[in-house]
């Protein structure tokens, strides 16, 4: 990972590529690389779909090595959905392959004139950019199928569906999984629309003939990786709960806590929650010959994904994640796992964020476009997005725009991005993160629950009320750091409870790069990334007034706890006060 591939898609005479040394980004990865480049190179007032915006694609620090859980791919840009800086990441094979090809980042910049559609093929021999208009408006599954016919089963495919081509603001970028299905998505913030604006339909990454990246100290790296894997396997969350039930294991628990947003955030309990729980989903998957335990990339030892088949045993989609089951399920009053799986497939195929799409359908139901609980109607609405009808284009631009177009008062978004599957009224601490994140509402912005081990911000007393703000700050710092390593965020559970597992992670990084990183250095990296992101957003016009939840969270109590969001603006404004 010693070079950066820069492609000016708008160059005269056609796309022009250059390869440059990694320079100041040496030893960084993932979110650190994307956010630092975007902050430095993108004008904060640029139109997100214009020539001035850039799409930065970066593997993690340890991607491409033999290390476990190292397969996250980060994509950064100015978001067309939020107007803020954006980093969205996904699993799949792409990060591993891109890293082995030696690239710390691919930067797509400029904007081509005309309607030509491009694909980019990268292998050990170089980069080839070619026009392929036969790919126009193909959705992700048929697109990858067609590309496999030309490039085979070895590459990893990074693609956009029709939503990305149409530059819909909820459009995602798909990465293929080990079975070459386009199931892993950089979903949030409309990154697929930015790729669409560059007229890049697919990036084909082929590492044939290349080996794993070599650590500076292979023996120490192997030893640290072994300890890291042991830590993950012995922890009840990463070694038992997630492999058995996937992330949707949270449905029952959130429902029981009264924190499960239902019927577009009107109540905190979905009466039929058990019907769509992770437990029910896993049972159904196994019964139908699918799987409840599956890795999204090679080298994953948690295996929190799965395969969802229909009643006849035919593949429908990968195991829908908790947030997807929530957005299309309880949020829309739908209690049928087959309908939810179908919607998950449609989202992946069209190439839209499942959280944004489900939240949007919930808003559309509030607008009267369908009844809550009507699965067939929800499918019809997503079909509108697939067809690119005027209604579909509105829905495909997310919850905020749909709410505005149809006059819905209560629209659950922050900075234009849909609030995910955890209601911030009973769980106030997560509301602080939704409101203040540099990314718009995002549960993963403060997800790295390892702040106690990392000692981010020193020792916070979590039992004090003001601790919520401090905890959110620390979580956001820790998450920015973990996102920069390119490690799956789920490693945080084992890190939180097992100091030796965190040490193993540090040892992996140090053995790989020949460094002496400490926990403090990791924290400093997280702060550096967040500071860059805050700087970009400030220059883009964002102020403290944007770090707020929608008003109805402050005024409308939610059952069963009848709570409103009560963290004061003054407290909220202290989140980034370090």
């Amino acid at each position: 990972m010693d070079k950066i591939l820069r492609i000016d898609m708008g160059a005269q005479g056609g796309p022009k590529m250059t390869t440059e040394p990694v320079g100041e980004y040496l030893g960084l990865g993932g979110r650190a690389t994307t956010s630092l480049i975007v902050n430095k190179e993108v004008h904060p007032l640029a139109h997100p779909l214009g020539a001035e915006n850039k799409l930065v694609i970066s593997p993690g620090m340890l991607s491409g090595s033999t290390g476990a859980m190292t397969g996250r791919l980060s994509v950064g840009c100015k978001s067309p959905l939020t107007g803020t800086i954006k980093e969205s990441n996904a699993g799949g094979q792409a990060a591993q392959v891109l890293a082995r090809l030696g690239y710390a980042a691919i930067i797509l910049e400029g904007k081509p004139e005309g309607d030509e559609l491009y694909k980019i093929f990268i292998n050990k021999d170089g980069v080839k950019i070619s026009v392929d208009n036969s790919l126009k408006l193909l959705d992700n599954y048929p697109l990858v199928e067609k590309l496999r016919g030309e490039y085979g089963d070895k590459p990893a495919y990074v693609t956009i569906g029709s939503a990305g081509e149409r530059q819909l603001l909820a459009a995602s970028i798909a990465c293929t999984d080990p079975e070459l299905r386009p199931t892993r998505h950089c979903g949030r913030g409309g990154v697929g629309a930015v790729m669409g604006s560059k007229k890049v339909k697919a990036i084909i990454l082929d590492d044939s003939g290349l080996k794993h990246r070599t650590p500076v100290n292979p023996e120490k790296y192997r030893d640290a990786n072994r300890k890291f894997v042991e830590g993950l396997r012995k922890h009840p969350v990463t070694g038992e709960g997630l492999p058995a039930y996937g992330t949707n294991v949270l449905t029952n628990v959130l429902n029981e806590a009264g924190g499960y947003p239902t019927y577009n955030f009107k109540t905190g309990v979905f009466p039929n929650g058990a019907k769509i729980s992770g437990e029910a989903q896993a049972e159904l998957e196994v019964k139908r010959g699918g799987s409840a335990t599956h890795g999204c990339h090679r080298g994953c030892v948690i295996q929190c994904s799965g395969i969802f088949n229909d009643a006849e045993g035919n593949y429908v989609t990968k195991q829908p994640e908790y947030e997807t089951v929530w957005s299309h399920g309880g949020n829309c009053g739908i209690d049928d796992l087959d309908v939810i799986a179908r919607l998950d497939y449609m989202d992946d195929n069209i190439g839209v964020d499942t959280i944004e799409m489900g939240a949007t359908i919930g808003v559309a139901m509030d607008a009267g476009l369908a009844e809550f609980g009507d699965g067939a109607a929800a499918i019809r609405l997503v079909e509108e997005v697939a067809k690119g009808t005027p209604l579909g284009r509105i829905l495909g631009c997310g919850a905020e725009i749909t709410g505005k177009v149809f006059g819905v008062e209560k629209v659950p978004v922050v900075k234009g991005q849909a609030i995910p599957a955890y209601d911030p009224r009973p769980i106030q601490g997560i509301g602080v993160t939704y409101a203040t994140s540099t990314q718009g509402a995002d549960h993963t912005a403060g997800y790295a629950i390892a702040t106690n081990i990392l000692k981010v911000g020193g020792d916070v007393d979590p039992l004090k009320t003001e601790g919520q703000v401090a905890l959110s700050r620390d979580l956001q710092i820790a998450t920015a750091a973990i996102d920069s390593t390119g490690m799956c965020l789920f490693i945080a559970f084992a890190i939180m409870d097992q100091p030796e597992t965190f040490q193993a992670l540090l040892d992996m990084l140090n053995a790989f790069y020949g460094t002496n990183l400490t926990g403090d250095d990791v924290v400093a990296l997280g702060k550096k990334v967040l500071s860059a992101e805050r700087d970009f957003n400030k220059r883009a016009g964002f102020t403290a007034q944007h770090d707020r939840l929608p008003r109805f969270f402050y005024t409308d109590p939610i059952a069963p706890h009848n709570q409103t969001f009560s963290v004061s603006d003054e407290e909220m404004d202290q989140v980034f006060n370090w």
């Binding site: 709960g241 806590a257 955890y422 702040t451 789920f490």
Partner: protein, 205 residues
């Protein structure tokens, strides 16, 4: 709340515990000593190892409120209790009892506000995720109470493999054939609820 009702007892292979996953997730009624603490229920009444309770039952809700201290949380007649293993995600960590992030849900945390009368009582119990298989057999052995309609639905939807794993079935101590149970004929039509006791046998190989 406790009422007399018929008791159906099944002797099943251990692997059939999964057949009860929907029932234990959605919740069943269970007789307890009202006024007792959660610790008392788990460690004395159910005889669970304290280490198991501490290390495995890491997420608990009593009347929809996350519990931090099982020594002070008290069961009321009519309470709803949900037991879960460790959960993923920030919110999973937030819900963990006594966890580092419990302040993030401080407004809904369980706290005792008034004295609880003691005596016979009945609570609704829900078991999630890893607890379904780890605690399900224990509750089922003690006997759970279900609405008659739910019991009939459960029996009717079991496949032949379930009944193949059933070595014996009795109703109020008298043998009853699986065929009758499947048709709903073995269960008395009178009464609104049925007590279900299940003895799980270890697989022989």
């Amino acid at each position: 709340m406790s009422q007399a009702c018929s008791t159906l007892q099944l002797f099943l292979h251990r692997e059939q515990v999964r057949a009860f996953s929907a029932i234990v997730q959605q919740g069943f009624s269970f007789r307890v000593e009202a006024g007792s603490t959660l610790e008392d229920l788990l460690c004395r009444q159910l005889r669970l190892d304290p280490d198991f309770v501490r290390g495995r039952i890491t997420t608990i809700f009593l009347d929809y409120k996350p519990v931090d201290d099982i020594k002070t949380a008290v069961l009321r007649d009519g309470s709803t209790l949900a037991l879960s293993g460790a959960m993923p995600g920030l919110v999973g960590a937030t819900m963990r009892r006594g966890g580092f992030y419990s302040a993030m849900r401080g407004g809904i945390s369980h706290g005792e506000e008034s004295a609880v009368p003691s005596g016979e009582g009945e609570i609704k119990v829900k078991l999630f995720n890893l607890m379904m298989e780890e605690l399900g057999p224990i509750f089922l052995l003690k006997g759970i109470v279900l609405p008659l309609s739910e019991m009939k639905d459960f029996l009717a939807r079991q496949d032949p493999a379930f009944w193949k794993g059933c070595s014996e079935s009795t109703l109020d101590g008298r043998p009853v054939l699986p065929e009758a149970l499947i048709k709903g004929e073995g269960i008395p039509q009178a009464g609104e609820r049925v007590r279900l006791c299940v003895v799980f046998e270890e697989l022989k190989s």
